[in-house]
């Protein structure tokens, strides 16, 4: 073996040792480190998502009291049950305040309806309306009021004001949400001999709404915690609302 051959052999052997070391030891470790880098990124993303989720959950927890009050307040506009007595009470109150006589309420779902309704029509109307939509159930009614033109106009405004949007865009609920579909104003009788405004009969077809039976008003929530969160809040000792939400609901 010449000197030159010996040098070549030594160089080749050295390179072989280095390449083998790279391939067998260093490269797999670097690959592993690279994979772990990806895993770290993924874990960081997951952590960020979890942090966001937790943050929104804590925000929701902090908002619970107001949300409960809001949802109970909305129950005046869209109750969990048909609440026909409450509706009659509200209509009577509104018509009295506007000098209008509340003559009749007929549940349209109960049939063509000749008589005035009472609590007896409640179940029928709710059942018939329940099939009307996947969300709120519809309860169609026909109301008859007697009054002057302007008194009836003011009454319609009052009915709208039961549930309305304020100028700021927020909801203001003081009574049942009603959607009037038709209005018919006809004179009660001839105006001969009378000097005052003609009394009119206002026949209104309107729809009230009811929450789905599967939900209930608060979906099982209590003023202090939602359904399924009582054990959680006490176990965590977290910042669950210490003071229960108190909502005053008048019919």
């Amino acid at each position: 073996m010449t000197h030159r051959d010996r040098v070549v052999a030594i160089v080749v052997a050295t390179l072989a040792v280095l390449v083998a070391g790279w391939l067998l030891l260093v490269s797999p470790e670097r690959e592993k480190a690279s994979k772990l880098g990806t895993e770290v990124s993924a874990a960081q993303s997951a952590l960020s998502a979890a942090e966001g989720e937790l943050s929104s959950a804590r925000t929701a927890q902090a908002q619970y009291v107001s949300a409960y009050a809001s949802i109970v307040g909305l129950g005046k506009a869209v109750p969990a049950a048909d609440e026909v007595p409450s509706l009659i009470y509200q209509l009577e109150r509104a018509s009295n305040s506007k000098n209008v006589e509340f003559t009749s309420i007929v549940s349209s779902a109960a049939g063509s309806g000749t008589g005035s309704s009472s609590a007896g029509s409640s179940a029928t109307s709710a059942a018939a309306g329940a099939a009307s939509s996947a969300g709120f159930s519809q309860m169609p009614f026909t109301f008859i009021f007697d009054g002057t033109y302007f008194d009836l106009e003011h009454l319609f405004e009052q009915l709208n004001r039961f549930t309305l949007r304020t100028a700021s865009g927020s909801l203001q609920v003081s009574g049942r949400l009603l959607t009037i579909q038709s209005v018919k104003l006809t004179p009660v009788g001839t105006a001969a001999g009378s000097s005052g405004p003609v009394q009119l009969t206002g026949t209104i077809t309107a729809t009230a709404y009811v929450l789905p039976a599967s939900q209930g008003l608060t979906a099982g929530a209590s003023p202090s915690s939602p359904a399924g969160a009582t054990a959680t809040a006490s176990a965590r000792g977290s910042s669950a609302p210490a003071t229960p939400a108190v909502v005053e609901v008048t019919p």
Partner: protein, 275 residues
Amino acid sequence: MRAVNLIPAEQRSGAPVGAGRSGGVAYAVLALLAGIAVLALVYGIAHHQVTSRTSQVASLQARASAEQASAAQLAPYTSFVAMRQARVTAVEQLVDSRFDWAHTLHEFARVLPRDASLSSVSGTIGSAAGTSPGASPSAGASSSATAGAGSSASVSSVTPPGSVPTFAVTGCASTQDAVAETIDRLRLINGVSSVALTNSTKPGSGVTSSTPGTGGCGANAPTFTLSVAFQPLPATSAAAAAATTRTVAAHSSSAAAAAGPSASAAAGPAAGALR
């Protein structure tokens, strides 16, 4: 005599430079050692990264799991707030989709001429026009509006966007000119798309009128029947904007003032409506 080269073999011309006595093996060993050192350094760095990243991943995953568990514990609160939002949105949509009947009646009274009066007003929305009171509202136009992510978000309004409010108005006027003026005035109401005359008949003219002829007009006063159609109900956002801006009154009062002096006083013509 034999010549002897006294120059050391490694310094003679043509000999490998720097090979030394080892013939370059020493350099090769040094290079090998240097290479191994570099490999060891790179391996060490990679190994350190693996170790640190492994612990980092474990730490991050543990934190994420803990936070997810916390969030899951608070999930009922999240669901409840989402349900509240869905209901609010649904109610808002229903509120926004309503037609303002009171304002329309107010506008009728505002624009009506002094020498005309109404005997009956019948208004309906959508295809429910002409149905008798008490009919199911499902006969009218209906559409569902999806609102939010809540389960109660899907609400079907009985007066959905696109429904057309229409009024059948009967009344009487002192003259046929007054009937014409009534038609013109009704067109001034904001949102009215068309006012069509069905009939205007003087009593005793030989033509049977469907209107009762009440309203305090003279014995020879023509009775009329008009059909007033409004523009289709707008989408809920537009309706909300319309409800808040409420430029209707200003518009119609100024238009009525432009149309004639008798309409500018709101209470005056209004008192003639259905009187």
